[in-house]
Symmetry: C2
Subunit: 335 residues, 2 copies
């Protein structure tokens, strides 16, 4: 059923399992002990960072499958993406796994996009199990979007640290676990930010737009949720989001941002916070889904936020369009 922009799932599919894998910096952050696996070396034994990112995804997918106690034969489709040009982290990760696959590109919004589409498929009982995966790698992202690491560029205060992480989830039409109750796909918003070191500002308007549309469709207020979560707005973008929502008459006191949860900003020198498709993917799987499973949260509005530029459009002087997809999650025992 669709109400305005929001797809309300009559038979909410279940998140049966999830897994997150992180790199070295993630192993030193506040969520370290919640990861399913952590890497001491961001090369993961590979010759290139690009291949290392594929390994992160494979680990996340394999661990998730294991936690769901199922096999690849029981997976109908994997939906996944990453930040590399032509999404090669995902393509090469899935090359080594013999499973139906559909590639996504949503930049850092990929995880909510993937879970949202997976929920629509599993919620229609078209399929058996559907998985969603997203990743990012600090080293592949920096040299692709900004400058090679060897350049040693100064980081601006608005800049964010791309997570070296992957998260994967498995959804089923039925079973036990948190459920996806509704999905709101994003509309692109571009407030003419052109600073490639200020992703938070570029993405905040899209997050505000999606939150407003979701609440309107569901007839809910922010306080109906235990948390309204954004993907990787970090400090700059989070402040802007709250301002934008306040401008629309909405006081949000329970906002959380994955970009502010993954690292300890004070001690880990990440400037405004974390970013990357792996940021919201891993924080969903290390913090929010376990919280829903254990009853610490009962109802969450979870958004992943993406900045949709490329190095080419940046050099051509384009501004940065943002997008944010939302999924409404409820605990197993919530009504």
């Amino acid at each position: 059923m669709q109400k305005l922009d929001t797809i309300i799932l009559q038979k909410p599919p279940v998140l049966r399992a999830w897994a997150a894998v992180g790199g070295k910096k993630e192993s030193e952050g506040p969520l370290a002990e919640c990861f399913d696996a952590l890497q001491e070396d961001n090369h993961l034994g590979e010759e290139s960072w690009e291949r290392a990112e594929s390994r992160l995804q494979q680990q996340a997918l394999t661990l998730c499958l294991k936690k769901a106690q199922t096999t690849w034969e029981e997976v109908s489709l994997v939906l996944g993406g990453d930040l590399q040009c032509q999404c090669t982290a995902t393509n090469y990760a899935l090359r080594d796994i013999d499973v139906p696959f559909a590639g996504l590109y949503g930049a850092c919004s990929t995880m909510a996009e993937g879970v949202g589409l997976a929920a629509c498929l599993a919620g229609a009982a078209h399929t058996r199990n559907v998985m969603a995966v997203a990743s990012s790698h600090f080293c592949t992202a920096e040299r692709q979007y900004r400058t090679p690491l060897e350049y040693g560029g100064q980081r601006t205060p608005t800049s964010q640290w791309t997570a070296t992480a992957a998260g994967a989830v498995l959804l089923s039409p039925a079973g036990r676990g948190p459920r996806v109750q509704a999905v709101t796909f994003g509309r692109i918003r571009d407030y003419e930010i052109s600073d490639i070191n200020n992703m938070g500002a570029a993405m905040a308007p899209a997050a505000a737009s999606t939150i407003l549309r979701h609440l309107e469709a569901m007839g809910t207020s922010p306080e109906d949720y235990d948390a309204i979560v954004t993907g990787d707005l970090a400090q700059v973008g989070s402040d802007l989001l709250l301002q934008l929502l306040e401008g629309e008459g909405l006081q949000v006191k329970n906002h959380r941002d994955c970009g502010l949860l993954l690292y300890d900003r004070e001690h880990q020198r990440v400037k405004a916070g974390a970013s990357g498709a792996g940021c919201s993917a891993s924080v969903l799987c290390t913090h929010f889904l376990p919280g829903l499973a254990k009853g610490r949260y009962r109802r969450i509005l979870f958004l992943s936020t993406g900045a949709l530029m490329s190095q080419t459009t940046f050099l051509q002087g384009e501004t940065i369009p943002g997008i944010a997809h939302a999924i409404e999650l409820i605990g197993e025992d919530a009504e």
Copy 2:
């Protein structure tokens, strides 16, 4: 309902409208008069080819919407993608249209991937209208994947000409028009082709795999279809596909390839044929969907085929993974 890898839609959604836009070379090819709009200048009045490709998508989407006699307010979601790094042709096309959007990356397999996902959404009555769009542009693709045009590189006999084209479709849960009966998402196949000028060979194994799995799940033979269509295998890939299928005991006499339909190979100097995400998207909308609507075809298995490498993985010495997604289309009056 899912049978093996194939999603069989209990309520097959309807392709209510479609539109295709092409560039200069397409305007000189055998399908010219079937396009909804043709461009004499591949710049489309823009300063960059990248922006020009966004315009192609916007035109295809807008024309499709007009032909469906509906408005953006009635569109629940647009699923779309292209070949540019970070899918910017699509992102910037959709920036100017205020509609929910989910980005895909499937390289040249994008159109069947998008129609397949759209069919699952519309077939579940989760949504009102869902659109799928895909594009490519010869000039954006050449400089990104191979060499800048100014370099004037010789083309090898196995090379294909990237279509400057976009195609868009609109699906609804009900109404009149051809229907999507079943969807088979692809599994990645890599036969270790590493020649970036031989995409057809890289994609043929994936096409063979998807066709075999679809026929097995549906319990059908090639002759049950009026045509088994592939996206852009062109001459080299088409020959290999038929060989691979023959090796599996399958004689396919009704194979058609969009890469061999879009141009006149003899007179248009396109070497092995056409390619690009816009190739299968535009040939679907100029030839196969009109054929289904007019009763020239009753049942078609339509695949888009994609090569999932990037310039980075190519330079890192990786081989080229291929993928192929299939949609089974039936005419309005077919059983």
